[in-house]
């Protein structure tokens, strides 16, 4: 899942980027509102983490601009101001959720997952497909009740495919969810991750459409 992180503080931005990457997010990090605006115009994101006190273009203005474009992108704001007025202003400007600094990395990740679930109309945090179960908040995947160890990228890939069951995801689309800016995309990486997933979860789970992409087919009948 591709996240746009907009945070002007170098140390905090770096920490959040590293933390989200550990959790399997692909993170693009910008330090000012203007660059964030540019990124939003050119790239697809699943969610945005936005600091309100930004140079050049404030977080609130960026949000207003975003909502003015009828974008439904889930936005979580980070703020140092904790008065009700500040929080209400952020939510009114179009934020979906907020965290007050200093915050917990786990909470940030959990809230981002919640926002993502809501944005795809999914209520529970567990995705079920046949005998495979994926819990996004805990990063756990099990097959027949047995926990399967997956790397962060494998998890993200499976998560993406399970979120869009029956719809083919192109290799580029999947790569976007796996890698943030400045991260080197290893060639064949999607193929490699799919290969690992098939080995761990069963060869028939993911179907390859040569030259098009990958898909997890809808279950023919509920077992």
């Amino acid at each position: 899942m591709r996240v746009l992180l907009v945070e002007d503080d170098a140390l905090l931005g770096d920490g959040v980027r590293a933390g989200l990457k550990q959790a399997g997010f692909a993170v693009d990090w910008t330090q000012d509102g203007q660059t964030a605006k540019l990124a939003l115009e050119t790239e697809e994101y699943a969610v945005m983490v936005l600091d309100l006190g930004l140079p050049k273009l404030s977080g609130t203005d960026l949000l207003k601009w975003l909502r003015g474009r009828k974008s439904k992108l889930p936005v979580l704001i980070l703020t140092a101001r904790d008065t009700v007025v500040d929080r209400v202003a952020g939510l009114n400007a179009g934020a979906d959720d907020y965290l007050i600094k200093p915050f917990d990395l786990d909470e940030l990740i959990a809230r981002l997952h919640a926002l993502l679930r809501r944005s795809v109309g999914q209520v529970t945090q567990t995705l079920q497909h046949g005998d495979i179960q994926l819990t996004s908040s805990t990063h756990q995947v099990s097959k027949n009740g047995q926990t399967v160890e997956l790397s962060a990228r494998e998890f993200t890939l499976l998560h993406e495919l399970l979120l869009h069951v029956g719809r083919v995801q192109s290799r580029e689309q999947l790569e976007q969810h796996l890698y943030g800016w400045g991260e080197e995309v290893e060639s064949n990486s999607v193929e490699v991750h799919v290969h690992h997933l098939r080995r761990k979860l069963g060869a028939e789970l993911i179907r390859t459409l040569r030259g098009v992409g990958y898909v997890i087919d809808k279950e023919a009948s509920r077992s």
């Binding site: 503080d9 170098a10 140390l11 920490g15 590293a18 933390g19 915050f103 990395l105």
Partner: protein, 443 residues
């Protein structure tokens, strides 16, 4: 004496007392004067009657024996008289001495008979044959005058305590607005400093109430500033703390040794940054206007600059920045050397921080038309639009890559202001780099 009421009462009582005494003196003088006139007239009448009656007995020496008639009225006076024919005493009353009571000149005079003062009237008959002298003791007049005065003033004398009581209560009532004001002021606390209502405040108290209101306004402003500063400071701490927490969590979770190492180093950087922020906050709090000017002495800016530059040399050396101190003359200003050293340290620290490696930081001191301290660097300078903002607390220039506290220039400005100096920021004459100028007016 600290009680307004007591003071008023005392003043009023003393004033009333004096007024009463003056009135008494006037009454007494006036009644004495009238009594004198009355009694003198009586004396004249007696002389007239005596002259008339004694005419028939001319040349007969009659010596009256026991002619004292008992006093029948309290104001009835004893009367003595003598009738003379040239130097012969023809007739005299028992109370009268055998010698003349006064000179033979017509008119009133006073004399001492038997040790008591008497009033004597000397009269001659129409043909200038007989002289009559009628006398009467003065004691009666004096006591009568005193009596009249006392009788007249007695009611006021009795009224005085009543008056004092009335004064006591009216002064209390008159001071009521002050009492109300006191209660109003007493209700004010650090959190409740709204101005006093100026309606119903008597004009004598109005200036005091106005002064209090002004004080309240200033206090409120000071408290407001303090509160805002605390809030700002707390908020400023949140971002470094958030960074610390996240970096620590990243380090904890990382399975990659290199990544963990970077995160831990970031934690240390974060701690350094938070420490610096706290130190700067404390510095700003310590640069207190209360302590200003009292302990000021002559400080040699040149020597101070040399010391601070020596302290910062390692920092400059690490970035290969050359520091220069122009002009060898001593420049004296009145001030606090610790604070001025802080001012220099912040200016130089900023200059070193924002100047790229291999640059120059130059300090120039001038002592003509007031002392001027200039710190020039070869950094990026500050855009004109941001020059005012950088002096605000916690303002940081974006994209500078430096993690300052955002307080350095606030501290410099505060210290400069306390020393009566002015801080100006501009870009270097050469077009590149910042020029920070602190100027003292010529005294």
């Amino acid at each position: 004496m600290n009680s307004l009421r007591l003071r008023l009462i005392l003043l009023l009582s003393v004033g009333l007392g004096i007024a009463w005494l003056v009135a008494a003196w006037f009454t007494h003088a006036e009644s004495q004067h009238e009594i004198n006139r009355l009694f003198d007239a009586q004396l004249a009448q007696s002389a007239q009657v005596l002259l008339g009656t004694t005419r028939h007995e001319l040349h007969e020496r009659v010596e009256h024996g026991e002619d004292e008639i008992p006093v029948s009225h309290e104001y009835e006076q004893k009367i003595a008289f003598q009738i003379w024919d040239e130097s012969d005493l023809l007739l005299r009353s028992t109370l009268a001495p055998v010698t003349a009571m006064a000179s033979d000149k017509e008119g009133y005079s006073e004399t001492i008979i038997n040790g008591e003062p008497w009033r004597v009237l000397t009269r001659w008959d129409a043909r200038h044959e007989f002289m009559i002298q009628v006398a009467e003791p003065l004691v009666g007049r004096e006591s009568l005058a005193r009596h009249i005065t006392l009788k007249m003033l007695l009611p006021t004398f009795i009224a005085l305590p009543v008056l004092a009581l009335l004064i006591w209560f009216s002064v209390g009532a008159g001071l009521q607005p002050l009492k109300l004001l006191k209660q109003e002021v007493k209700q004010r606390t650090a959190n409740r400093l709204e101005p006093l209502a100026m309606i119903d405040v008597p004009e004598e108290v109005a200036p005091l109430a106005q002064a209090l209101n002004d004080l309240f306004a200033r206090l409120q402003q000071a408290f407001e500033g303090e509160r805002r500063f605390t809030a700002d400071a707390a908020h400023e701490m949140r971002t470094p703390l958030a960074a610390l927490k996240i970096q620590a969590q990243v380090a904890l979770r990382s399975t990659d040794e290199a990544e963990r190492h970077i995160a831990l180093e970031n934690v240390l950087r974060g701690v350094d940054r938070a420490t610096r922020l706290v130190e700067q906050l404390l510095t700003l709090a310590r640069v207190d206007p209360e302590t200003a000017a009292i302990g000021y002495k002559q400080v040699d800016l040149h020597g101070l600059a040399a010391t601070v530059m020596a302290d910062l040399e390692p920092l400059a050396h690490a970035k290969q920045i050359e520091m220069l101190l122009d002009d060898g003359l001593a420049c004296h200003v009145s001030g606090d050397d610790a604070q001025l050293s802080l001012l220099l340290r912040n200016l130089l620290d900023n200059a070193i921080r924002y100047t790229p490696a291999g640059g120059h930081v130059t300090v120039t001191l001038r002592n003509s038309n007031g002392v001027t301290l200039e710190v020039r660097d070869t950094g990026p300078g500050i855009a004109e639009t941001e020059r005012e903002q950088v002096l605000q607390r916690f303002y940081r220039i974006s994209g500078s890559g430096e993690e300052g506290s955002g307080l350095g220039l606030s501290i410099v400005r505060r210290i400069a202001e306390l020393h009566g100096a002015k801080l100006e920021l501009s870009n270097n004459e050469a077009g590149k780099g910042l020029l920070a100028k602190v100027s003292w007016p010529s005294s």
